[in-house]
Amino acid sequence: MSQEYTLSSTATADTSASAPLLQIRNLEVGFKTQRGFVPAVRGVDLTLHAGKTLAIVGESGSGKSTTAQAIINLLPGAGQVTGGQILFEGKDLTKLSSSAMQNVRGREIGYVPQDPMSNLNPVWNIGFQVEEAIKANGVAQGRAARTRTIEVLKEAGLRDAEDRLKQYPHQFSGGMRQRVLIGIGLSSRPKLLIADEPTSALDVTVQRTILDHLETLTRDFGTSVLFITHDLGLAVERAEQLVVMYKGRVVEAGPSAEILANPMHPYTQKLVAAAPSLASRRIQSARRPETTDHLDISSVGAADDRLIARADARESGTHQDLIRVSNVSKVYNIRKGGFKTDQLKAVDDVSFAIPKGTTMALVGESGSGKSTVAKLVLQLESVTSGSITFDDRDVAGLRGKELLNFRRRVQPVFQDPYGSLDPMYSVGNTIAEPLVAHGVGDRPSRQARVRELLDQVALPASTVNRYPNELSGGQRQRIAIARALALKPDVIVLDEAVSALDVLVQGQILNLITDLQAELGLTYLFITHDLAVVRLVADSVCVMQKGRIVESASTDDVFDNPRQAYTQKLLEAIPGAHFQFGR
């Protein structure tokens, strides 16, 4: 696979002689806010040649989406281009009148947005929304427009397009909606397609199918593509050229393969080092008690040279299963029209065990039932059949004091760092809440414990008086972890705990939980959709599909020697799975 990229990087040299399709020079974009003018893009340069693909990579807040939106002037009300040029086939787009820009949009530059759920108008049917794009760009009118609509949708991979024209967005799955949006973006055969995180909201397998399809289409039509993505693996796999953005600036740009193999800017180096891939190894705790160096990102990932024989230590210890899940099923009754109810088997005969002090990862795509398992283990829902034991006691019948005791020893960290902390609660109160609920200690001792916990998750003590809305996603997730640690539990259930975070922050949190495990002897149930992350933290893996566990083995076995076709497909789908990232 890597040979492809060598090929494409040499191809760039040939085309550099021709005039570029898109050339951005010294672009400055800012937003007017109540706190004054905030620059978002600061002097960005990039060049894209006809028929080529370029990816802008960056974390949230890097200005990558703003750059893309500035090209066809889709900036929200408060945003404006304050300097520089955007040359498209030689004409400066920043100087165009609004009606001239309208002719560029759709017709010459297509756009595929990020979130398929919110980018189609819920009150108009699919056919209408595709057809209006076709008509507005003068591709076809009247009856021909309808025929073209069906064609466009079929091209985008909607096989039964004729029958689905009259359906509404809410009747489509996320993947289907994204196909519709890609169809709209390409409907007038634009010379350039801007794809702003086109598949970030989708499952990996769906993502791969859709990106493959997009690649075929743009190659056939000769469309240039500008990808915007946070995923380095995806960028390298899909684009010949890479532009890395950080805090509104371009920090590094060049051929993908070269940047991947030889990142020059320290930020790019960090990004490359943190990008989880199948080639990664499990993070080993490198914590030295007297320093906080462990939070430095350089210790993430392949650190082969620092492999400490912790795995051996784990293996030599006696395996006592702390949590045992045996033949557990969960059935929901779904109310349908009328008085009918449908039964949905969310979890189907699932069994696994987690030895004390280890991490088990539960992997699956959306709808696989993995989060339901988390709720069952946490006793937030009751099992329909089967049993869950904790410390050799069945947890199903726990009531009152026993349940409270169980909760004290099994704590959760949830996915959404924006949703799992009460916005009205200060950080101090949030972390102290489990202590209060379980009646642990008095006020001063709780305060001391809160400070200790903040230190453990490497946050300054002054954070106690802050509120969640002032903190970043990663900081919130560290607070959620501190809260989970407050009662010194034995088990922490991490439900997609790092999925919403930028890659560097994600690496930092993964390091943190690994260190905490080593230090406190914690047992983790790690639930995620992201196999690449699993390799960094898990000792064993269960792969779930449609409520069932399809494969269950040690992490190395699953990655090096997957036995089930579904697991193989999942592994294949990870963007940039097989690249050896330069470290």
Binding site: S16, E252, E258, Y267
Partner: protein
């Protein structure tokens, strides 16, 4: 730099001095801590509309509480028929009504009834609606079904329409009965809004987290769910205070609200109607007082909503 290979011509690397790489995810300790409430207060006090409405409301409340401080004329006595619809004169700056009473004094003393009805009705509706809506939304199930269906029934009768019927058969007409009658038909609105807000707060991740942490169900309701669901209720309460005052005036105007023996703006407007052609100002003053009061509460409601609206906050 770990690299010793020379980058190709197309490989650009920014000058490190221009974009120093910050430590990952550091807490900015320079900003002061901000809770939702202090945030809301900060945004409110920057708005002139907040100060205008707040000062107006304070003045109106003071007038209603201590009318004697603002008018030396006793409006009930000293109504002299020779003064009927008389022009303003010294000591009687608003002139006289048809009955020869001092308009200024009547406007001052009328504030009490209007404000009592408004405040009382709002208080009842908010407390009842909040409790019922919160319990129904939080505990769900049968309780929710029953409460929602009963609410639907009351909701099907427009507030003032229901009040017209009930007031026309009620023997006791006092500010508190008017407030009670209005509240009887108005509580479902607050209950519905609370229920919706509680329902979405109940399903929030932080509630699930609290359950899993071992926090008791009732404590979660009181400490997490209600504080997060209270915003729309505050907004509705502020705005509906104004509409209750209008409703009372409408009822009094129809002659089934407060009796003529209790001074109220609604009554005065109704009575001034007959002589609107000859003495329009007699109608104007109580009407202006009424409108100004309602306007103050509406403006306050708007400011509060803007300050507490999470969408508006996010935009800031």
């Amino acid at each position: 730099m770990p690299s010793n290979t020379v980058p190709s011509a197309g490989h650009y690397v920014a000058d490190l001095d221009e974009t120093p790489v910050a430590a990952v995810d550091q807490v900015d300790e320079t900003q002061k801590a901000r809770s939702t409430w202090s945030d809301a207060w900060d945004s409110m006090r920057k708005r002139p509309m907040f100060w205008i409405s707040a000062v107006l409301i304070l003045v109106i409340v003071a007038v209603a509480a201590f009318p004697g401080l603002f008018s030396h004329t006793d409006p009930a006595r000293g109504c002299l028929l020779p003064n009927s619809n008389g022009a303003p004169e010294a000591g009687h700056i608003f002139g006289f009504t048809r009955q020869g009473c001092d308009v200024f004094a009547r406007v001052v003393y009328g504030a009490q009834a209007s404000l009592t009805v408004g405040l009382l009705a709002t208080a009842i509706v908010t407390v009842v609606g909040l409790v019922i809506g919160a319990l129904a939304g939080y505990y769900g199930g049968l309780l929710d079904s029953i409460v929602s269906r009963i609410g639907d029934i009351f909701f099907a009768i427009p507030t003032v329409l229901g009040a017209i019927v009930l007031m026309s058969v009620l023997p006791v007409r006092e500010p508190w009965t008017v407030a009670l009658v209005l509240a009887v038909f108005a509580w479902p609105q607050v209950a519905r809004i609370t229920r919706g807000a509680v329902l979405s707060a109940r399903n929030a991740d932080y509630v699930t987290a609290s359950v899993a942490l071992g926090v008791s169900r009732f404590r979660i309701l009181v400490r997490h769910v209600v504080p997060n669901a209270i915003t729309p209720v505050i907004v509705v309460a502020t705005t509906s205070l104004g509409t209750f005052i209008v409703a009372e005036a409408t009822l009094s105007f129809l002659g089934i609200g407060l009796p003529p023996s209790i001074m109220s703006w609604g009554n005065d407007i109704g009575q001034a109607r007959v002589s609107v052609a000859t003495a329009p100002m007699v109608l104007f003053y109580p009407a202006a007082a009424l409108s100004l009061t309602v306007l103050s509460f509406l403006m306050l409601g708007d400011v509060v909503r803007d300050a507490l609206d999470p969408k508006a906050r996010a935009r800031r």
